[in-house]
């Protein structure tokens, strides 16, 4: 898939040839820095790319249907019912002048054949499901009356109110503190198992992905550079390791709480400008292993072990190195 933004300064290739598969009941974490295109992928899936952005190529298949060929009416039926989404900042996405219970009920009414009274009842059930205490009373509250954590729970309740098959969570815990973050992650995990949803978790915090996801996709400058099981990408008992230089450097650059002493790897350079991204492999100006080929040719995302995909010209070499 390719999604470009046609701005007055030039074309921003936010997502530039990304392939991603999410299976039923699976949780996939999409990590990347700001501007890597991770949120654009989420928005592309539910076709909510704002102007001047456009999905210019590729297809998005939900079951076997291409979402890009759907009419606006059809996509609205899917959005909110079969695919739910929640965002980083609940206060800007929740309607400030409708009570939270009312908002959830509205969503349920729109997608299900149900009357007003029952939809409100259902909304209260949803609030209970996301562990909001005293849901009857809270349903009458307006978003500004709730705390940050509660608002995020309401967003989640709204997204799951129609039993979606796919739940896209875009930075669900960035606006809350670490203890509340933990509560929300636990909630997401429980809900995913209970409702048998697939989860696409979009975040810049690699630790959250390690905690919650089965599979990990690492994005850099509009492309996926590595994809694999969480046990492969993160340090674990498994014999496999992350291979792509960006992933390994990133993992070594983050201070960890449990390590006794640690020398942080500093990755040189800066995140590239997406209007004129570097040629070839987009990580090459910052990569410690760069060779001429990297500057000339973009590496394809290839499977180097079963279920472990890497986009790097030197992946074979690095894989052998790791094995030693």
């Amino acid at each position: 898939m390719k999604t470009y933004f046609f701005t007055t300064k030039g074309v921003v290739k936010a997502v530039d040839g990304v392939n991603l598969i999410i299976r039923k009941g699976e949780s996939v974490g999409l990590v990347g820095e700001s501007g890597s295109g991770k949120s654009t992928i989420g928005l592309s899936i539910i076709r909510l790319i704002p102007f001047p952005g456009r999905i210019i190529d590729g297809e998005i298949k939900f079951h076997d249907e291409n979402l890009l060929e759907k009419s606006e009416k059809e996509i609205r039926q899917i959005r909110g019912s079969k695919i739910g989404m929640c965002f980083q900042d609940p206060l800007t996405y929740l309607n400030p002048v409708i009570s939270v219970g009312g908002q959830i009920a509205e969503c349920i009414e729109a997608h299900r054949d149900i009357n007003k009274k029952e939809s409100m009842k259902e909304a209260i059930n949803m609030l209970e499901l996301v562990n909001i205490s005293d849901p009857m009373e809270r349903a009458k509250d307006y978003p500004f009356q709730l705390s940050g954590g509660m608002r995020q729970r309401v967003m989640i309740a709204l997204a799951i109110s129609c039993n979606p098959e796919l739940f896209i969570a875009d930075e669900p815990t960035t606006a809350v503190d670490v203890i509340v973050q933990r509560q929300i992650l636990e909630l997401l995990r429980d809900l995913k198992n209970e409702l048998n949803m697939s989860l696409l978790l979009i975040t810049h915090d690699i630790g959250i992905v390690a905690e919650l996801c089965d599979k990990v996709a690492v994005m850099y400058a509009g492309r996926i550079v590595e994809f694999g099981d969480a046990e492969t990408i993160f340090p674990s008992k498994s014999s496999r390791h992350a291979i792509h230089p960006y992933t390994t450097d990133l993992l070594n650059s983050i201070p960890q709480l449990d390590k006794k002493s640690q020398n942080l790897v500093s990755i040189k350079g800066v995140v590239p400008d997406m209007i004129n991204p570097p040629s070839g492999c987009r990580f090459h100006p910052r990569c410690p292993y760069v060779i001429d080929l990297c500057i000339e040719k973009n590496p394809e995302l290839i499977e180097i072990e079963s279920g472990h995909l890497v986009a790097c010209h030197l992946s074979d070499l690095l894989l052998k190195e790791e094995a030693k």
């Binding site: 203890i179 915090d205 905690e211 983050i254 960890q256």
Partner: protein, 326 residues
């Protein structure tokens, strides 16, 4: 040895609602108890980390230490001298020796000044140098914080830099007046993951070379642990635990334990002991009675509701305010 910074029973209340003439009989003044009786010392050359959730008062403490805001009560000593007693001349000198690095490099650099002016401004104010020599100092500072070659950056404006580079400029500005003590208020939280390590490493190198003392304020436990010698944990304006970094994983206060166990891990081999804490931080206007953490604490007893625990030393370099340990 005299500590470089000593804080005694520091309090800062922000008035949010004053009783009006008409309401005076029925209404009390409303305060936010941002910092409510915090004491600690920072020794020369060390990094003291302050950690806590948003709204716990950590940024307020940083600003109080630099006398950017006036405390409600309590004393701050800089090298043994009370900073509230400083006259104008001494205060200016203090402002040179104590500097700050801000969280948001986008907001803390003047967009209409070129880099050389941003960094040179403080040098001018303190009349440390001028002319050619000043430019040489600025150039040297830029190179020192990793902006090479400096000539290329001198005349640029902040918007031409990335977040990490701006933070480096912020650091160069703080260093321009040869400070001894630097308050670093969330120095990396607005930066991208891949440039954070570089800024943290730079701060560590500078500390070694220039014998700097840091007060590091952050909500990120791992960053604080990586950088600090000692760590103070704040909860609702109170210091509830102070611990040497090497003992952090064995912290005793239920709140510190909850913070530690909630922190996402990267290494999947690590098992975390889970301390389940309910709810969120209560309002800092209507502060809970007794121990402020009792509304969320899994080990709550009656005494916690009634009586406020005092902070006591339970072993060397380990202070805790919890009834379980008194």
């Amino acid at each position: 040895m005299t500590p470089i910074i000593k804080v005694e029973d520091l309090k800062k209340y922000f008035l949010i609602e004053r009783p009006s003439l008409f309401k005076i009989l029925s209404k009390k003044s409303l305060f936010v108890y941002a910092v409510d009786g915090v004491s600690f010392e920072i020794q020369k050359g060390e990094t003291y980390g302050l950690v806590g959730e948003s709204g716990c008062g950590k940024t307020t403490i940083g600003r109080l230490l630099l006398n950017l805001i006036e405390p409600t009560s309590g004393k701050i000593y800089f090298k043994g001298e009370n900073i509230q007693s400083f006259d104008k001349k001494k205060m200016k000198q203090f402002r040179r020796t104590a500097q700050i690095i801000f969280q948001d490099p986008f907001a803390s650099l003047d967009p209409r000044m070129p880099v050389k002016k941003i960094i040179g401004e403080a040098i001018d104010i303190h009349k440390l140098s001028e002319g050619e020599e000043k430019l040489m100092i600025i150039k040297h500072l830029l190179e020192r914080v990793g902006l090479n070659p400096a000539d290329q950056f001198m005349d640029r404006y902040p918007h031409e830099f990335s977040g990490g580079q701006k933070q480096r400029i912020g650091i160069a500005r703080a260093l321009s007046v040869n400070p001894e003590f630097i308050v670093a208020d969330e120095p990396v939280s607005s930066l991208d993951m891949s440039v954070r390590a570089a800024v943290l490493n730079l701060m560590k190198d500078l500390q070694k070379d220039l014998e700097l003392t840091y007060l590091l304020i952050s909500h990120d436990l791992a960053v604080v642990r990586h950088m600090s010698n000692r760590i103070g944990v704040l909860y609702m304006g109170k210091k509830i635990e102070e611990i040497h970094t090497r003992d952090l994983m064995n912290a005793n206060h239920p709140y510190t334990q909850a913070l530690l166990s909630a922190f996402p891990r990267i290494d999947l081999n690590i098992e975390r002991k889970l301390v389940n804490v309910k709810g969120e931080i209560p309002s800092s206007i209507n502060v809970p009675t007794g121990c402020r953490f009792h509304t969320r604490c899994p080990y709550k007893e009656t005494i916690c509701v009634e009586q406020e625990p005092q902070i006591i030393e339970i072993s060397k370099d380990h202070l805790i305010a919890c009834h379980m340990f008194s």
